[in-house]
């Protein structure tokens, strides 16, 4: 009998945390979610506490100091947990990972699940990715709406979100878990660290993180160079979505 394919498994060996805030960033438009969450991990020196595995994941391991690590990792410190994927999650895999992350967050009695990503924007394309982005938020209950209002992000009033973050919000709602997805206007097909800066500034107000974004602004060009391969892989993984507009959100 062949082994059935393992759907998605979250392995968290970190200490128990009381009412954590869970920030989730995966590669989508402009790699905004991945750049923002990686930067938070490095700046706040969050320790690695777990990983996400699935037989549907691309056959990739990240090598750091000669040690292979899962490309979808979980970091944390105090009551902040960051879930970060360094590989694109497309189609069914995106749905399954979002579902498991939402269930895992609920099992920890999370205070708020915050998805961070980019929303392709014509205005951002015309600005050639220069300057700051407008950040909007989608919430799923009164608690997350109040938190969003306090952060200064504009509510995303009418429209549709698709893909990983739509599933994250869907399963959070199903589990009665407060959630918000922050979307920064971004470039669609090129890495957009400027949009990631806008996301981090909003997160700073939402979760009181105290992250200095100046180094990210100063080193944006280098980050664009370093993330170009992941951007290309993400474009390829999202090819069907790209043919219908390439966005994770539209109004």
């Amino acid at each position: 009998m062949p082994h059935p394919l393992k759907r998605v498994q979250i392995v968290d060996s970190g200490p128990r945390v009381s009412r954590p805030n869970v920030v989730v960033g995966v590669p989508e438009a402009g790699l905004v979610g991945t750049i923002a969450s990686s930067y938070i991990v490095e700046q706040l020196k969050l320790g690695e506490r777990g990983y996400i595995d699935s037989d549907f994941m691309p056959p990739v391991m990240v090598v750091h100091n000669s040690t292979a690590r899962y490309p979808a990792h979980i970091f944390g410190k105090d009551n902040l947990i960051v879930v970060l994927s360094e590989v694109p999650l497309a189609g069914r895999l995106a749905l399954e990972v979002a579902k498991e992350v939402a269930a895992w967050a609920k099992s920890m009695k999370a205070n708020l699940v915050v998805g961070v990503t980019g929303a392709p924007s014509r205005k951002r394309e015309e600005a050639q990715g220069d300057g700051k982005s407008t950040v909007v938020g989608v919430v799923n209950d009164e608690t997350s709406l109040q938190a969003l209002k306090a952060s200064g992000a504009l509510p995303f009033e009418e429209g549709v979100i698709t893909g990983f973050y739509a599933s994250l919000l869907k399963y959070s709602t199903k589990n009665q878990q407060s959630g918000v997805v922050l979307l920064a206007e971004s470039l669609a097909q090129f890495p957009d660290p400027g949009a990631a800066v806008s996301i981090i500034e909003t997160l700073d107000r939402l979760l009181s993180l105290k992250v200095d974004t100046k180094p990210l602004v100063q080193e944006a060009e280098g980050i664009r160079l370093r993330t170009r391969e992941l951007m290309q892989q993400t474009q390829q993984a999202q090819q069907p979505a790209a043919q219908t507009g390439g966005g994770s959100a539209y109004r």
């Binding site: 990686s38 930067y39 991990v41 490095e42 990240v62 090598v63 750091h64 100091n65 360094e86 600005a127 050639q128 990715g129 220069d130 097909q189 090129f190 890495p191 400027g194 180094p215 990210l216 100063q218 080193e219 944006a220 060009e221 280098g222 980050i223 664009r224 160079l225 370093r226 993330t227 170009r228 391969e229 992941l230 951007m231 290309q232």
Partner: protein, 150 residues
């Protein structure tokens, strides 16, 4: 092709910011030629124009050269500072890249003499009018339109 420059930014090493993440291991983006990288690019086509956009962080406008033909757009750009990828253990040394280089084959013909290019924030946008030259083709078959009054 002359390029309009809107910004100039310095480039710093990001190793300090992302010590464990986004370490490129080589691959299709790194095989443009000795010391050359293929820039990320995209092509948009509408009824009037073909727009080709290149992501070339870390270059100055004066170091970019864009050349167009009826059906291609080429870019060459020297980086201000070289970009180094990690080598694979002892058997392979790291590779240093000093320029971007690529040629894009366009899906439709354009008027290369009427192109414009704009540079800002390490992104080059090349806009070319589509070629709409054609000759009428006579259609046979069917029935001629009846003359008025008949």
């Amino acid at each position: 092709m002359a390029i309009d420059d809107d910004s100039e930014k310095g480039r710093e090493d990001v190793d300090r910011l992302f010590p464990g993440l986004f370490r490129p291991l080589g691959g299709s983006l790194f095989d443009a030629g000795p010391s050359s990288l293929h820039p990320l690019s995209k092509v948009d086509v509408d009824a009037e124009y073909v727009t080709v956009t290149f992501d070339v962080p870390g270059v100055d406008r004066d170091e970019i050269s864009v050349t167009c033909t009826d059906d291609t757009v080429s870019i060459e750009a020297e980086m201000r500072k070289s970009f180094r990828t990690g080598g694979l253990g002892r058997s392979e040394s790291s590779v240093e890249y000093v320029r971007y280089s690529n040629r894009i084959l366009l899906p439709v013909a354009v008027e290369p003499d009427q192109g414009t290019a704009r540079f800002k924030n390490g992104i080059v946008v090349v806009k070319l009018p589509r070629r709409h030259r054609g000759k009428p083709v006579k259609i046979s078959g069917g029935h001629p339109k009846p003359k008025a009054g008949k």
